[in-house]
Symmetry: C2
Subunit: 382 residues, 2 copies
């Protein structure tokens, strides 16, 4: 019998029909006035999204490309940097920084937790020459939010430090305004809350970061910020751009800006809250002590393999993500970023109830749904 597959994974995420439509169009050439105009419009809309008038660059790469560019363009070999390493993507910052022989302070944090302010002060007290702090705004592997505002304060007090933020699962989920917050380099990717297929990354950098560009001595060719900055300001790119993704990004940005970033952030907050309260109502435990609004990590019930639970959940039509590394088989992650609304959240909770019931848990059907409905009713004017 027909069971529709519904994607509740933290990337890729479902595409809005307007994006699907834009992607289904015949390609146009990028060296044309038509594409230049689309590129410049998209750039302007990205600036609106991030509330900035500074350069916002697009690369034909996944988010990791932009992460690498953030290292290779704004640092020198031997620069001392602090990495907030609290999950799979924290590790990625560490790996990239190591690859380019930065001097690494690896602040390892138990998965599911965020950093400790005292510890940060201790580190920067001991190493005032830190040139950069690397962090995930939302650490997708552990569905954890890290407070970037506090890190910005710390970074600004140091002599010559920039704050580099992976906003891959936070841009489009929160109000991420780098100038206001004090983020120096912000990167994001297309296949998350920007509601696109993978293959496009975005980078913002501050005036302070810009000054670093000329002193950087790390090797780079494809992901060269000054080269791209010069081109992109005129609606060109140094290398072939991801044409159809940029056209589609312009569509998804229109949706985002029409809703308004504040409304969008509120919607994600409510969806996340409804999900968290509903799974707890069903007797499940959250993974994160500082949960992000992009996705919710949940421990499988004792004695149940989370991946078996996921397989059972897929039978009702819902594809959610599992845990990575040592969390594999222990947790599952329900995404609610991008093209999701309240009724989507209620639906996945209802599917989870059916799944828990099927695997023999003693749960009351409808109880999680009721909790989610209550959160939504309390927080909206439905």
């Amino acid at each position: 019998m027909l069971i529709k597959e519904r994607l509740f994974t933290p990337g890729p995420v479902p595409l809005p029909p307007q994006v699907v439509k834009a992607l289904g169009q015949q390609i146009i050439h990028h060296r044309t006035p038509e594409f230049t105009q689309i590129f410049l419009d998209t750039r302007k809309n990205l600036q609106k999204l991030l509330k900035t008038e500074r350069d916002v660059l697009m690369f034909a790469s996944s988010g990791t490309g932009a992460m690498e560019a953030a290292v290779t363009n704004f640092f020198r070999k031997g620069d001392r940097v602090l990495v907030i390493n609290a999950g799979k993507f924290g590790q990625r910052w560490r790996e990239i920084a190591s690859t380019y022989e930065l001097k690494l302070i690896d602040y390892e944090i138990e998965w599911g937790k965020t950093y400790d302010r005292e510890k940060i002060l201790e580190i920067v007290g001991e190493f005032p020459d830190i040139k950069g702090i690397f962090v995930q705004h939302s650490e997708t592997s552990t569905t954890t939010l890290h407070d970037v505002r506090y890190l910005a304060e710390v970074s600004n007090k140091l002599e010559d430090c920039i704050l580099v933020v992976d906003g891959i699962t936070s841009v489009g989920v929160y109000e991420v305004y780098p100038e206001e917050i004090g983020i120096d380099v912000l990167v994001t990717g297309s296949q998350k809350a920007l509601m696109l297929p993978p293959g496009l990354s975005v980078m913002y950098y501050s005036e302070k970061a810009e000054k670093r560009l000329s002193r950087s001595n790390l090797p780079k060719y494809y992901l060269d910020v000054p080269k791209e900055a010069k081109k992109q300001a005129k609606g060109q790119t140094a290398y072939t751009p991801a044409i159809n993704l940029i056209i589609a990004l312009n569509e998804s940005l229109k949706l985002i800006l029409d809703e308004g970033v504040e409304n969008l952030a509120k919607r994600h907050e409510i969806m996340a809250k409804a999900t968290r309260e509903a799974v707890q109502e069903l007797g499940l435990k959250l993974l994160s002590e500082s949960p992000a609004n992009s996705a919710t990590g949940v421990y499988a019930p004792a004695g149940i393999d989370a991946d078996d639970l996921r397989k059972q959940l897929l039978k009702t039509g819902f594809r959610v993500a599992g845990g990575q590394d040592h969390l594999k088989g222990k947790i599952f992650r329900i995404a609610h970023m991008g093209y999701f609304d309240f009724m989507d959240v209620i639906q996945v909770i209802a599917g989870l109830e059916i799944t828990l019931y099927k695997i023999g848990m003693n749960i009351e059907l409808g109880k999680g749904v009721k909790k989610a409905q209550e959160v939504i009713l309390a927080e909206t004017n439905f």
Copy 2:
């Protein structure tokens, strides 16, 4: 904040992605071997759907066109016919039959009810010269199922009577096998359980009905069955066919045949049962005494205008249909035919709960969802 609009109306219905994709293609010419092959494949798949090897015709018209063709091609002026008139679409049979000056026995039935067997026997006892019985298999306006099998028995016992069935909201919902059931003329439309946009209708006719073609003296030009039958057997059409709808129909028939008509009928049965039991659990009353599996008609709570309730329900994202004529403002109709699965049904029930709560009804959130979950768990091996 983003609220997705979800279509739960009894036509048009949501399109499967495969159909959307097929519709989004460049047009091809109909006088080509390529289209002829598609036409013949589609015809063969329609025959599989209806379990017949007889002619199944396609017209570029909505369902009403095929209804009119069923009158003009198989009857003569002055033929006595019985119309089972139990709703808006029963009225339509009456209107078409009157337009062509058939001698009408109008068996009017209270909306929400089906025919009475005794009454049928009484009528055919009094008028054994009846040349046709007209009925809706599923009367969409009242969400009522009429038993066509019994009418086929009655019709077959008469000297020269054919049973003409509007299967517009039953083909693709039930196992509708006209030869096995004894239906002589069956019509359906594209925008219902065939999961397509409007604009294409389908007609099956029996050997017995075929013999009527040459004796019919009613005027027709565009919807001329013998003319089309000759052409369509060779993959041609008398007039320009609805090219892209036929290509899309071929896709939706593949989906239907892959699922299997038996499975599909079972799915619709479960979805309808879950909907009916859930709305009753919420204290609401069903419209129909003989409810169909295509859509569920529900009375609004006492003192509540059903159309106000629908407006409120639309705020949560669900578009359902209202009542027609004297039922306007009194009932609403939730469709579950075509591209719907169990979790869709649960979702609309959750939305209805939120709506009833918002308009001040004393309902327990999650209660209807629980009931729907229970029906689904009992009837499936999720």
